[in-house]
């Protein structure tokens, strides 16, 4: 690493423009600088490529194993090219492994929960960010405190609370989609409120005032003026919530256990855990791989299509 190249040039990013008025002297002054740079460029590519393979290879291996027969998985575990494509594995995991119904359950729950999270989260954030009233700070900090508390602490009473509610109102009891939607919303509010709060703060006052002068009501002002203006923030937090809730496994495992005879309302994470536990007894390896593939591919495809938004959405979530 001793080959320090004394070449003028920025390090900030790929789209660097040259500093104006630079001269070639420094480069000439250090012999071998170019060779060093070329070596470093090669090393960069090598290392980056190795890491890229380490990321992609396991994923590819899972997808390809999902298309093998069971005996092939055992005999030739490493090969990436199945002898004959076994689409039946997917059908089996979809029906017998219940991945299909779990998948639809997840989509159903997420449709409701993400929509409600966004709606209620931005409503609360908006009011907290732009209206002065007693208890404003208190409520804001109450939402904020949820960010630091570990979910495991609440596990036992939450389970008990849901169970007790279910005795009176079965649609709010364990193993109900509606209950899970509400729980997801409640647990996503902390971050959504926190994020949208800082967003609504930055919106200009002039437009809100103009709206009020024109006689818009408070809620009308919110829905037709402020909410559309907050669109970039909504997209970020929306992506964050979709991924976060799709990936949830602890809350469903806690609250969505179906007793024998009840409908299986579980979500996809639970389906995968079930598959991975069962595989030990039934050794349906290809079915397991097919299940993992089906849980993995939709998200990956959505990500590849919207990669710019997903990347900036998720990183914005951290750097706020």
């Amino acid at each position: 690493m001793s080959t320090v190249t004394h070449t003028p040039g920025g390090l900030a990013g790929p789209d660097q423009t040259p500093p104006p008025g630079r001269t070639p002297e420094p480069r000439a002054a250090v012999g071998g600088g170019r060779a060093g740079a070329r070596f470093f460029n090669g090393f960069s590519h090598l290392f980056l490529a190795v890491w890229a393979i380490m990321v992609v290879y396991p994923l590819l291996w899972v997808v390809m194993s999902a298309l093998k027969t069971d005996s092939e998985v055992i005999r030739k575990p490493l090969s990436l090219i199945p002898e004959r494509l076994q689409w039946g594995n997917f059908a089996r995991a979809w029906t017998e492994g219940h991945i299909g119904s779990f998948f639809l359950n997840t989509v159903l729950v997420l449709t409701g929960s993400v929509f409600l999270t966004m709606l209620l989260g931005s409503m609360a954030a908006y009011v907290l960010a732009r209206y002065e009233f007693r208890g404003n700070r208190l409520i804001y900090y109450m939402f904020l405190s949820g960010l630091t508390l570990p979910i495991y602490l609440a596990a036992v009473p939450l389970f008990k609370g849901v169970y007790n509610t279910g005795v009176v109102l079965p649609f709010l009891g364990p193993n109900s989609h509606f209950m899970l939607i509400l729980v997801y919303v409640a647990w996503s509010l902390s971050f959504t409120v926190f994020f949208m709060h800082s967003f609504f703060r930055t919106l200009p006052n002039a437009i809100a005032e103009a709206g009020m002068v024109d006689g818009a009501s408070h809620s009308r002002l919110f829905f037709s003026v402020m909410l559309p203006m907050a669109k970039p923030g909504l997209i970020s937090i929306g992506i964050f919530n979709v991924l976060g809730q799709w990936n949830q496994w602890y809350l469903p495992t806690l609250l969505m256990q179906s007793v024998a005879g009840e409908p299986k309302n579980q979500v996809i994470s639970q389906g995968l855990i079930e598959l991975s536990v069962n595989q030990g007894y039934r050794s349906d390896w290809s079915g397991l791989f097919a299940g993992v593939t089906m849980a993995m591919l939709p998200v990956l495809i959505v990500y590849i299509v919207f990669q710019r938004q997903v990347q900036s959405g998720l990183t914005a979530g951290v750097s706020k």
Binding site: G9, L48, Y152, L158, G161, W249, V292, A295
Partner: protein, 313 residues
């Protein structure tokens, strides 16, 4: 008019606050209450026992083990993830050829970013089940299979991964293998984060450095890295939370969810076992409260250490 505002504010807040109170705040408060009782969870019988549960925590061998395992992840997960992410971001942004336009990012840096980000969009459960197959303790697993093929591992003595409680550098091997997964899945995300931060550093900062004749390594270590301090410290706090949340991996991957022989036990796994298998809800709640206090102290400590004047460009 004043009346209208009050009605509007109440109307907008009622539902979110109500849901939050019922499903988040109330369980937390109850947990604090139960932690002072010997409630078993399934009966109505419960007795106030004061701080007994908390005192018991200190003499509990399992908790002590879990605590040190948590501390292990708390140090290693952020350390290795950030180091690797910074290194990748450095290569990506500085490793390119030089031409008239100065030093460029490597060719195809956009593609690398897309790929490195993959694990971030996969759920922890998918990652856990996938790595369970990669880590299989026979030739059917990806790693063992490869190593057997090139002859580094004999068929009779495969690497046992999740079943290996033997300490390596004083820490059970199974924890190191879990750490590898965490780093694998986190590095790409933080690389993208650091990359973005690097690109938001204004160019005239570099121009000044270049006038002084600084090269790419110099510029990176003397200028880029110090200016990234804010982002790195935020990343550290987030990774700290993730480290406390390794439970998904432990739950899916390790034998009897914390094994072998309690070698991969962490706070969350002990808590769940105590509450739902042993039926000691009161004691489990005390663990939860202790964990919460620990988390909050840690977050406060981290913010305190990393807080510094913000650099405005």
């Amino acid at each position: 008019m004043r009346h209208g505002v009050a009605r509007f504010v109440t109307g907008f807040l009622a539902l979110p606050v109500g849901l939050y109170l019922f499903y988040v705040v109330w369980p937390f408060l109850q947990a604090a209450g139960y932690s002072l009782t010997d409630w078993g969870g399934y009966s109505d019988r419960q007795q106030f026992v004061g701080l007994d549960n908390y005192l018991r925590l200190f003499s509990d061998e399992l908790i002590r083990k879990a605590f040190w395992h948590n501390v292990f992840f708390l140090i290693t997960v952020p350390l290795f993830t950030i180091a690797l992410a910074l290194f990748l971001a450095f290569l990506l942004n500085v490793g390119g050829r030089e031409d008239k336009a100065g030093i460029r990012g490597v060719f195809g840096s956009g593609l690398y970013k897309v790929i490195f980000f993959f694990p971030q969009v996969l759920s922890l459960v998918v990652i856990a089940v996938m790595w369970q197959q990669i880590y299989r303790a026979d030739g059917q697993g990806l790693i063992n299979g490869m190593l057997m093929k090139i002859g580094l591992v004999s068929e009779d003595e495969p690497i046992t991964f999740m079943y290996d409680p033997e300490p390596f550098l004083g820490v059970p091997a199974v924890l190191w293998w879990l750490l590898l997964i965490a780093v694998w899945s986190g590095a790409g995300f933080y690389m993208v984060l650091f990359s973005a931060a690097m690109q938001s550093i204004p160019k005239d900062v570099y121009e000044a450095a270049i006038l002084d004749g600084a090269g790419r390594f110099h510029t990176f270590f003397r200028i880029t890295l110090p200016l990234l301090r804010d982002t790195v410290s935020v990343a550290w706090v987030y990774l700290g939370f993730i480290a406390l949340d390794m439970y998904a991996l432990v739950f899916v991957m390790t034998p009897s969810q914390g094994g072998p022989n309690h070698a991969s036990e962490i706070f969350a796994s002990v808590l769940n076992f105590t509450a739902f298998q042993k039926g000691q809800f009161g004691y489990a709640c005390a663990m939860g409260v202790a964990l919460a206090i620990f988390t909050i102290l840690l977050a406060a400590l981290q913010l305190r250490i990393t807080r510094r004047e913000r650099i405005e460009y």
